[in-house]
Amino acid sequence: MKTAISAAAAADLIPDGAILMIGGFMGAGSPHPLIDALVDAGRKNLTVIANDTARPGFGIGKLVTAGAVTRVITSHIGMNPETQKGMLSGRIEVELVPQGTLAERIRAGGYGLGGVLTKTGLGTLAAEGQRVIEIDGEEWLLAKPLKADFALIHADRADYQGNAAYQLTATNFNPLMATAAPTVLCETREILPVGTIPPDEVGTPGVLVKYLIGRRM
């Protein structure tokens, strides 16, 4: 059985300077209560691995606004001028990664693979400083696996064993991130009795989840 805790208690587990993966795509499917709790706790110096930094005042954007983030690995910051300003001023280190490559790098980290071989980004700025591997006369970019200290994910529902089920486009990076950190915190709309989520609906087996954070706690 997994421990169900409050968002504030979850934030207490996460120290300044931690490397976090945070699920969501422009805020959809992000663990909003966990983000709020990190802001309230005044966390600093966080590294955030996420698809995007949403918008100021929304989702991961709240962490940027609060000055909690000093490094992001992400595919898109176009909707958040604060992240862009932070990058241009040098306050926030930003590593931009093509979205599909970001997804595969996270999966590789979680699945025990040594890297990702993709054509995406070949010959562009995204390839700078990265290795090109030739296989049977074709060139592939080698992108390295990503891991985090904590993965903060959102699921539609979960059971007390930690089994998590996702809904529609709120799925996005959440199931991938749930594999790539030793401590996975799963924020969810409802925590259900074990046995009530059919095995085929489980997107993340409970063995990957350490803490559950319900919205009605």
Partner: protein
């Protein structure tokens, strides 16, 4: 006719019945207004849906059903949702028939630049690099010039999105096809002359003997719109 409408209606003709299409945020999204429901074209959004529908009516939005810009959408019957891994598996693996994207520049090699202006605008590439590298056909839908300056140039001065030659460039003035020989002018915009096109283009254009005026998709009744 507004330049955007010309571009959108011309691009709509490129979308074959039954195909899987990704439309970029902004101008490309509007292409869907000129696609007939009868053609059974499926729209994919890289945040994880195959079969994206139009904006929901007031009060019927769901925070778990959005497009790649984070805006609320609906799902068509037969839609499927996937995680980000599979979403880009579809794109990178060559399962996406067409991507329609905006552009900042396209050059004589057919290379597209559409993701940053160094020092001024660095939004990040999002899914653009995967889309341009992986889709079977890449259509650039953009206005022919920006503030009077050409966007179709000998060689991109902005960082390119991929070293893959795009399939077609559609502007309000012209349809241009990148080929082994260079950029070929295929069609003229409605009422547009070849000198006008050349005027707004700094790249070398190959001009065939016949350059017909472009055909445009019909304006559909509102109830046929899928997005």
């Amino acid at each position: 006719m507004h330049p955007e409408e010309v571009i959108q209606r011309r691009v709509a003709i490129e979308l074959k019945p039954g195909s899987l299409v990704n439309l970029g945020i902004g101008l490309p999204t509007g292409v869907s207004h000129y696609v007939s429901h009868a053609d059974n074209i499926l729209f994919q959004s890289e945040n994880g849906i195959v079969g994206m529908g139009s904006r929901p009516p007031e009060g019927m939005a769901d925070e778990d059903l959005t497009d790649a810009g984070g805006a609320f959408v609906m799902a068509v019957p037969g839609a499927a949702t996937v995680d980000s891994g599979m979403s880009f598996g579809l794109i990178r693996g060559g399962h996406l028939d067409v991507t329609v994207l905006g552009g900042l520049q396209v050059d004589e090699r057919g290379y597209l630049a559409n993701w940053m202006i160094p020092g001024r605008m660095v939004p990040g590439m999002g899914g653009a690099m995967d889309l341009v590298s992986g889709a079977r056909r890449v259509i650039v839908a953009m206005q022919h010039t920006a503030k009077g300056g050409p966007k179709i140039v000998p060689q991109c001065t902005l960082p390119i999105t991929a070293t893959r030659r795009v399939t077609l460039i559609v502007t309000e003035l012209a349809v241009i096809e990148p080929t082994d020989e260079g950029l070929v002018l295929r069609e003229r915009g409605p009422g547009v002359t070849i000198p006008t096109i050349l005027d707004g283009t700094s790249a070398h254009l190959i001009i065939p003997d016949v350059v017909p005026e472009m055909k445009l998709a019909a304006v559909l009744a509102a109830e046929s719109q899928v997005a």
